[in-house]
Symmetry: C2
């Protein structure tokens, strides 16, 4: 339903402003997202918009220099994982500071779904894209395909794609976590990690190997399980069932850690003693880690900060001439290792 103004023509911003008793600038700002407009004024504007049947001229607005949709497309791999929920929250917070909103899509780690989402976002005239890559081919992300829409990658890099990326200090975190186990006297340290083809998986394994080698040790193939998203499939059971099981485990992600702890819990309920169970260092925090039946040291990091940093990188590329503001940047976010590993 399109309303009519005083002359039988569609109502203008000025008429909406007069009706609401505010300035035309307040009307424009409210319709552009409401940044810096008091909630009560926004409501008066929206009431007037409704009563007059005003529709913003989206076309004219988008074509005007410096104006845009005010939308950031965000595609993540698993919104149900609190890690990525907090990541999206960080992006949303920083976007909201500029009156922008996020359009959110979940890829489920499926490259085909990622391609569709990116195409969809471009069709919606997003101003920028933040993507946790699903891991497939990247031709749909090449600059020619995205036009002048900037892209920021988070958590994972894509080689050959020259865009801003924000990562965790994966190598350093895994190195320090493994070193903490070595310092506590462990030498047989198992590794639970996800598929080695994954960017993050490869980096964390690199940190594990680097710490071992610094102490004159080498990864023992019998103790390394690198090909599982989580440890429910049996990797942890095979580690614990070895004739000489590891006295400690470095787990490269929280899904592997949680499944390892589930199996350790089962064995303790079946009569194993905590002393027979390995110490654990987990990359990624999880709730109640301090209540676990064996000591767990966490390589901790803040997904919300990761999201905030991704949004900041993206916003710095928006606006006139921003594409020329220098080459692609890589930011590594710090991690913490705590609490200390008990002596072996």
């Amino acid at each position: 339903m399109v309303g009519v103004g005083s002359q039988g023509k569609p109502p203008t911003v000025k008429e909406v402003a007069r009706h609401a008793g505010v300035s035309p600038m307040t009307v424009s700002r409210t319709l552009a997202g409401g940044a810096n407009v008091r909630p009560d004024l926004q409501e008066r504007v929206l009431a007037a918009v409704h009563e007059l049947g005003y529709r913003r001229n989206e076309n004219a607005r988008i074509l005007r220099p410096g104006q845009a949709s005010g939308l950031i497309g965000v595609a993540i791999t698993n919104l149900g994982n609190p890690y990525y929920g907090n990541f999206a929250l960080g992006v949303e917070e920083v976007a909201a500071e500029t009156g922008r909103r996020i359009v959110l899509g979940n890829t489920g780690g499926d490259p085909a779904r990622e391609r569709q989402l990116v195409a969809d976002f471009l069709g919606r005239q997003v101003e920028g894209l933040v993507l946790v890559p699903a891991g497939g081919p990247s031709d749909h992300l090449q600059p020619g395909r995205l036009g002048d829409v900037p892209l920021v990658l988070a958590s994972r890099r894509i080689y050959g794609l020259d865009v801003d990326v924000v990562l965790l200090d994966d190598v350093g975190g895994a190195y320090r976590g493994t070193l903490a186990l070595l310092d506590a006297g462990h030498t047989r340290i198992g590794y639970l990690g996800y598929v080695s083809s994954a960017f993050t998986g490869a980096r964390r394994y690199e940190g594990y190997v680097r710490a071992l080698e610094e102490r004159g040790l080498h990864p023992d193939p019998a103790l390394v399980f690198r090909e599982q998203e989580d440890a429910a499939g049996g990797a942890i059971r095979r580690l614990l069932d070895l004739d000489e099981p590891p006295t400690a485990i470095f787990s490269a992600n929280n899904r592997n850690s949680i499944d390892a702890l589930r199996e350790i819990g089962r064995r303790l309920r079946s009569g194993a003693t905590p002393q027979e169970m390995p110490a654990l260092v987990s990359f990624d925090d999880f709730e109640l880690a301090e209540l676990m039946p064996v000591p767990v040291t966490i390589v901790d990091h803040d997904p919300r900060q990761l999201g905030r940093e991704a949004a900041r990188l993206l916003l710095s590329r928006l606006g006139a001439d921003a594409r020329q503001r220098g080459p692609a940047r890589m930011v590594e976010m710090p991690v913490r290792v705590a609490p200390a590993v008990p002596s072996a």
Copy 2:
């Protein structure tokens, strides 16, 4: 940058279609979100759009009957909580089945932020709104303010607002959880809940009271702590420090449960025995509940299903004449209570 077509005028959909070697319908569908368009065709369309500098006429499109922005505004209270991350995922999945996307905002439970987000979403011409209410006044949600944009509430109802709502079976879940403790022989059952003014808090307390009264018992004011979002502030300590502490606790949400377990864990590490600690029933699941130092029974529910149902209710209100499709509906989603409470 606006491109030009063969006649020096802006390019048309037909020209984009010819350039991409697809039908104009495929171009339109791709630009409308890509539902039912193969990813490779979408990419050809987007490449052609970029090369020709085509811009969709958003204004004309939105004014056309039956066409709309394809956006659903979703405002939730805490995206960092995995519960709401999964809720948003459920909404996103069902919206995506119709080629729609979600614009997501986080209120942090702040009513002023909710008002701003709703105003913002309306300014973006969302087709519908899904809202987990922050709990403030609701005048900004009245039909007059929303125009013809349908609204679905999730988790919490707002009295006096006649819209579709999807809830958990809060009363039934708390009733059955408390009954499980009574059946196991407990009669001194503490209550940890959040502010009683909250809709969900009031309903869960109602279920607790109903179970007690069915067995001829009444809530003991010394055992009931209803005014905290979580139990970090001392409610659990005051319960455990009573001369005659409860032998069991019903906790109305996972934040209270987790803080209770943290305190119980501290006391066990300080020499208390598990037998001295209360049994726990928790409304809301949390990860690794089965590894806790005392038995925990969960009143479990599926936030993703809650989100899916909210989106279904909303979609049924979209399209021509949908507003006339009957009165507001209330859907209660089922809960499960497991595992059994050990005998007292």
